[in-house]
């Protein structure tokens, strides 16, 4: 039998020792994404369709920092990025800084399949995605209390830093703990 398989990740970082129930919720969500991609492959679908489908499942789950679970920027907005690449023909598509596309991976797929470009950003990317059938949502769709609280904590920490060292607080690389959301 011709081998086929899917591998999925939901982010790397420092998760700490979480209660069993929390771990179980994450594992169940991961399994849903794996199963969604595997279902595409087992029916003879393409690897590109499989990875898009798997990522969409995770984007729709607020447990993960993508799509619905996106973290907040300093300005209190959600800016999402995504990319996809088809190894059979080296075609690739990516979007960056989109704020109203429900599933950014579908916008990346649209860039790959329906444009002569590889990467689009911001409002242009959103307009292109909208014109090519991607689902559009209001920015509020991406709000989660967890992510909002994380931003508030980061801002408080930053304010403390500013009080001790104004210059240091302005440097983005100091934002070590917040990089994973």
């Amino acid at each position: 039998q011709q081998p086929f398989a899917i591998v999925v990740h939901g982010g790397a970082g420092y998760f700490g020792n979480q209660p069993e129930a929390v771990q179980a919720a994450y594992k169940a969500a991961m399994q849903r994404a794996i199963d969604a991609g595997y279902d595409v492959l087992s029916k003879g679908g393409s690897a590109t369709d499989a990875v898009e489908r798997a990522v969409m499942v995770l984007e729709d789950d607020s447990l993960f920092n993508a799509g619905k679970g996106a973290v907040f920027t300093h300005a209190g907005t959600n800016e999402l990025d995504a990319a996809i690449m088809d190894g059979s023909n080296m075609k690739a598509g990516a979007v960056a800084g989109v704020t109203t596309i429900k599933n950014p991976i579908t916008a990346a797929r649209a860039v790959m399949d329906k444009s002569m470009h590889v990467m689009m950003t911001g409002r242009g990317a959103e307009l292109f995605a909208r014109e090519n059938g991607c689902t559009v949502v209001k920015p509020a769709y991406f709000y989660t209390k967890h992510s909002w609280d994380a931003l508030q904590n980061a801002l408080r920490k930053e304010q403390k830093q500013k009080e001790t060292n104004k210059k240091k607080a302005m440097l983005q690389p100091d934002n070590y703990d917040e990089k994973y959301g």
Binding site: V7, V8, G10, A66, D81, M85, M90, A92, A154, P173
Partner: protein, 134 residues
């Protein structure tokens, strides 16, 4: 950040990555996820999706470098990925992980952080979902 890589029944590979960025980010910062070759890459050798401290993944051209090690050095996907994630990445001060799959269905999921949500399922029924290092 989330991602997926796959090998289909036609022997084709693909990779996808999506992220909500970094809490409190400013100045239009963009990480590695949408950067083809850094956070996401696929050809007819392997497919790679990354997660971690994006600036370092961009500097290392992480995903493409895994493929290059396989193509030019003859490394297995696991050796190539581990070299990049466990040697090259921390040597610059970065952290994170990646998932990868090659043309034969061999997979790799290395990370140098405390945890990485990861899992897979193969044609022969083999599969798993993990969070922490085992």
């Amino acid at each position: 950040t989330v991602g997926a890589v796959a090998l289909d029944k036609s022997g084709h590979l693909a990779a996808a990555t999506s992220t909500g960025g970094m809490t409190n980010k400013r100045h239009g910062r963009v990480g590695d996820a949408p950067i083809i070759g850094a956070g996401t890459y696929a050809n007819n050798i392997c497919a790679i999706s990354c997660t971690g401290w994006g600036e370092y993944f961009i500097r290392l051209v992480m995903a493409k470098s895994v493929s290059d090690r396989m193509e030019l050095k003859g490394s297995t996907i696991d050796d190539a990925a581990k070299d990049m994630i466990l040697q090259q990445l921390p040597s610059l001060g970065g952290d994170g992980g990646l998932i990868g799959i090659d043309k034969q269905g061999n997979i790799t999921m290395p990370f140098n952080t405390g945890s990485m949500f990861r899992g897979y399922k193969k044609w022969n029924g083999e599969g798993d979902v993990k969070i922490y290092k085992d």
